[in-house]
């Protein structure tokens, strides 16, 4: 479903170039849940944005659902749903229903289809009580649910989450985790970044570890446990970084 091939991304900062991604290659199969691990600044968000067609790779190519991100971005956008962490990206002066309906319109959905889908998502996330209230007055958890519903409004096959549980309380985080399980059962392909190891080990089949823009590991989680002789993902992650960078040895 997602093919990342030798992707490099550089940003120009004043007169020098900063390399955010260095020759990253891996693929995500249909129905797979892949956790993207890494510290802040490792390149996780840049990689997700590149997959989401928001950023153009400096070198290499990305294929999503059979379409190249640079050649067919609009086709890809029909197949993916993206939720970037930290911010929920909702219009405060619109109600939850209006927010969802607006994005449904942008995805080209018809009125009836939108109505049915909103009811479906409202039931799924328990949002019926506040569906017609303005988002401005919502708690963080409520906003996050509406944002996830917005991401799924067009029923995408591929879902990208960028640190989706950042700043959420335990209840809201659990709601998200249950959702990922449900989406997995529905056969959706999910690529999400996180620095919460417990979350990754609970939800993912496969992990991709990144450090300073480079992919330091990509493989099945069970294989990783076996090869490292431990089921402590936090410990494994740190030891991978130590091997990849002398700074961590001290």
């Amino acid at each position: 479903m997602i093919e990342i091939n030798e992707v490099t991304k550089q940003f120009k900062d004043k007169k020098k170039f900063i390399t955010a991604l260095k020759h990253v290659s891996f693929s995500v199969n249909k129905g797979e849940v892949v956790g993207l691990l890494g510290e802040n600044g490792a390149g996780k968000t840049t990689l997700l944005r590149s997959v989401a067609t928001l950023l153009t790779p400096t070198d290499g190519e990305i294929t999503v659902a059979g379409y190249n991100t640079q050649q067919n971005p609009n086709e890809i956008k029909k197949h993916i749903g993206v939720l970037f962490g930290g911010e929920t990206g909702l219009y405060d002066r619109l109600t939850a229903r209006e927010n969802l309906a607006y994005f449904a319109t942008l995805y080209g959905m018809g009125k009836h289809e939108t109505k049915v889908r909103i009811e479906e998502l409202a039931k799924m996330f328990g949002m019926r009580d506040y569906l017609d209230r303005k988002v401005g007055g919502f708690s963080k958890g409520m906003r996050q649910k509406v944002a996830i519903a917005r991401t799924l409004i067009h029923n995408p096959d591929i879902i990208l989450f960028d640190e989706p549980t950042t700043g959420l309380d335990i209840t809201s985080s659990n709601v998200f985790r249950q959702l990922v399980h449900q989406l997995k059962r529905e056969g959706k392909t999910i690529l999400f970044s996180s620095h919460i190891m417990e979350e990754v080990s609970m939800l993912c089949d496969t992990v991709a570890m990144m450090h300073k823009g480079e992919l330091v590991y990509h493989g099945k989680l069970e294989e990783l446990y076996r090869s490292e002789g431990s089921r402590d993902l936090n410990y494994i992650f740190m030891s991978k970084l130590v091997r990849g960078n002398e700074d961590y040895a001290s």
């Binding site: 928001l54 993206v82 970037f84 990206g89 219009y91």
Partner: protein, 385 residues
Amino acid sequence: MLLKIYLKEMKDCFRDRRTLLLTVLLPIIMMTGLTFFYESLISEGEGETYSLAVEKSFGAKEAELFSGMENIEFVQSANPEETLTEGEAVAALVLSPDFLTSIEKGEEASVTLIGDSFSQNSTNLMNLVTTTLTAFEKSVTATRLQSQGTDLSVIQPFTIDQKEISEDNPNVNLLAMLIPLMLSLAIGVGASPSASDLFAGEKERKTMEALLMTPVNRSTLLFAKWMTIASVGTITGLTTLGVVAAEITFLTENLKQAVSFGDNAWLIIGLALVMTILFSMFNASLLMITSIMGKTVKESQSYSTPVMMLTILPTMIITGIGINELTFEHFAIPIMNLFSLLKELLFGVINYEHIVITLGSNIVFMVLFFIIGRIMFMKDKWVMN
């Protein structure tokens, strides 16, 4: 799709109290305040009574000199200057002892007029007193020359006859400054919060990323947002024009007399409306760029403030220029041409060449700024923080 996005943006904008406040309430308050200020400025002096401090010796004969000036009220005092300082009068007049007798006898006499040039009332009263005493001085001189058998033409070798080329009410010039200034300011101030919210605000709230993740063309998004800014500006502009027209018609006398469009009334009103819409569109292109430049609403507003200040500049240039002195440049430079064209229209002049230049110039600059905005909006650097 364009219409759907536009309608959502309009709904979102008008649910914002700032937009409602700045598009409807602010023009009403601003125009009401300024209309009454200019009305009072024009009628200043009419029916106003000024207090003039005079000495106790100032009698009925002296008062007779001012018999034509019914708006001068005399306040007798032992020390007129002190009375003035204490604020009981706006000017003080001190005549030399036996002033009128001395003049009759041909002896030396003097007048001391004390006032405060920083006070408009004091200046007005001093002008009235000086005019009256100058007329009295001339009549004394004439009487003395006649008694000596000298012809009056000796002291008046020629007369000056001033003729006014413009038949318009002089107060129309005030309106020609007031209306475009308020219109341009209202459109700028009214559309600014929406403009900042539609690009910089969306980046700040991260809704921009969510929008860009949809299969909608970026140009469609940009055009819908530009239409929203232009619409908010137009609503503010039309509200401003409506309020000023209603207030001048129903609540003023002097300003009302100054406006007379004759047979061209509807054409002039129509052109003013077209100009308002076009200026709102031009303004929308400019504000769109400042909003795209800003990463946050606050940053965007700091870019748009100098742009709004630009709208005040033409007032200083155009106010002192007569409509016959307006040249190509006055109609070719955006913002300035709003002032120039509305000035002509308010004076009842319809010059089609000037109208075409003004409309054409606004369209050209509007399109140019829109293209710059589009180039910026297509680049990731400007749409993602």
